[in-house]
Amino acid sequence: MSITDTDAIVIGGGLHGTSTAMHLALKGMRPIVIEKNSVGRHASGVNAGGVRQLLRDPAEIPLSMAAMDRWLDLESLLGRYAAMCEFVGHIGQVAVAETEADMRKLEARAAEIRALGWNHEELVDRQELRRLLPAVADHCIGGLVSRRDGQATPYLTSQAFRLRAIELGVRFVEGVRVTGLEHGTRWRVLTTDSIFTSEILINCGGAWAWQTASLVGETLPRGYFAATMMVTGRMPSFVDPVVIGTGRQLSFKQTSTGTVVIGGGILGIADLTKETADPVAERMRVSAETCSILFPIMRRATIVRAWAGLEARMPDQIPVIGPSQTAPNMWHAFGFSGHGFQLSTIVGSLLADLIVDGRSPLPLDAFRPSRFSEAISGVG
């Protein structure tokens, strides 16, 4: 069996794995990404594509802010592949309030993050809501907007990252599965294809990341879910911002081609072993109804396709970013819990800084892998 030596190996060719490899390459390393399927096959390629700062966990806000700066200057990151992402910024993302109770919830949120020193989430009244969303239903009374937010096309974004990474010297090995991890003086990664060795190992395995961790005896949360999206045929242009529900679960956006992508909390059937995620019509029904209530024009829409993506979900809904607790020179970045797309322009960069320079320019403490074992020992 052939052996390939390099300095860094990334397991998992999703957006975060690809971005981490790309940023390591920018620092002069020659990473190899090992992907069991193909780049962007699961959550990275099939998510809803919202580039969202709105309603983030406070721990994520500094990352999300920095990520958005990079989205708005994608060319610096991706060069000639930037346009491939079909990113549109400054269209805003709006949480719509249908009731007074919804409005109270949004006001409390706005106050909470203002107290933390942030001001990117802005309350809007009935009139401003209609200016932002002319097609919104009459009963909606206001909302919360993050005006810099935008959207991009997930699969094309994952491919733009891949092509840029290749340009910078990253090597992708697709259709190859990791079967074992050994550490002597260096990492020895056993796969279904051949053996790879490296100084550094990074686990970006998404819904399967806990399996990679278990190869080095590390126990991390195994939560996962299948997020379902459905898309309509082309509609006349009627909404620019990305819209989310407040009292009801919904995420909703119209793409540049006119199709409307509907998501937000619809669960499919997830199978980690078969690596499949299937939409469930009985669960899509409510989202269809919600769309028609928030945007009456949607009563004319036709659903042409639905799909689901497999994604890791952590108990506290925020990712795991940081060093392994059991193995040397091993790092994790996974568990984005359904909102990792926007962070894909920053996390790989911070991780590369952490690995090469020993420190991240932004705080990552909230994401430390050890937080779950601390919680358990705390109870004990």
Binding site: L267, G268, V280, A281, I303
Partner: protein, 474 residues
Amino acid sequence: MSNEHHDLAIVGAGPAGMAAAVTAAELGLDTVVLDEQQAPGGQIYRNIEALERGGHIEKLGDDYRRGAELAGALRASTATYCPGSVVWQTSPDGRIGLTGPDGARMVHARRILLATGAMERPVPIPGWTLPGVMGVGAAQTLFKASDIVPNVPVVIAGSGPLIYLVALQLARAGCTIAALLVTTPASRIASALKELPRALLAGRNLLKGVGWVQEVRRLGIPLANGVSGLRIDGKDRAEGISYEADGSRHRLAAGLVLLHEGVIPDNQLSLSTRCQQIWDAAQLCWRPATDEWGATSEERIAIAGDGAGILGALAAENLGRLAALDTAFRLDCIDQAERDRRARPERAALARHKRIRPLLDRLFQPAAESLLPTDPDTIICRCEEVTVAQMREAVHLGGEDPNRAKIFTRCGMGPCQGRMCGPTVASLIAHETGRTMAAVGTYRIRVPVRPIPLMTLAGLIGEEEGLPPGESTL
């Protein structure tokens, strides 16, 4: 409200679906037939009951009487026939999503038999998406269902027995056939002759085909053999068709161009249900892998008729009955010995119907130019208007299988979900990357397999039952 449950749900009421339903009901299975059409018959015997009532079967030909018999048997059986029911989901767990006359509902079945039949192979030649161009089979459907006959000169181009039959049916109905352009190369006829001795055993069918060709000549329909380089021209609609024959280029004016390069299995539902597919090198199409009973790689899903490989209407009946027998055995209505005993005459008949197939497959192999379009501006995806050149570019960016190529180009993302472009995309990728069709693979087809209005989905009847939660928090 409790969900709708059946032993066997059959999708489609062509010869396979009708025959299967009659047998399954007779063996005591609670059987439901979900049919997109308004009356039984499928594509081949479309509208057969009305044609029989009106005494119009002879207009189509005597073979169609068989369809009327099958439809009668289905009506007389205890199977529940649901017309106007468009199935947009079949799941490996036996759930079926459909839109019927009263809206959308879920149906639960212990076993599903897909009897979705065949569809015309797309013929992506320059100009094929212009108004005034349609499939030969589609034209025949209009004729059978609504007695609609073109009132402009018609050019029929392509290969296969159907082009002769439809030329005759339209000519007899008073339509002007300006030309029949046959793409079958002369060299193919010599190589197909090898299969002739076996085909002769099929006797009647072969004679029927020869008879059609003679009748075309007798009626004086202009016929050109071995044509290539088909190209439809016209600005806003088809105005003419040009082609090469006898070493020179010809052009004909045409108000309507009908294209046909044979039929392929309609495998959208079996693809969306993840039934394993195989590339059939003889018929040059994908088909679901099935055993001798029509069972697939998915335990609850069986397939009968042309949807599992093109064998024709008579074979489809036998295959339908075999699948019904196996279902009755699996659901404990009959024992294995009875299944096998009842299967014997079906297998014998099936063997007879199969004899002509190698000759037909060889003789009417589609023209290479319709399998692999080379003109860069030819549209391959009708829904999203993606060209050959755009697809080639996507392959070089990394679109090395149909699913990846799809997202680079939107090819296959329209309402038909790649029904029309799937085979072409796969052969372009295979050609560009030097791989086999089997290695390139197929589109993943998503629910709803047919578009469903949002408000219809919002009114879906059927409660979640026995499904995994969709989330694991271990």
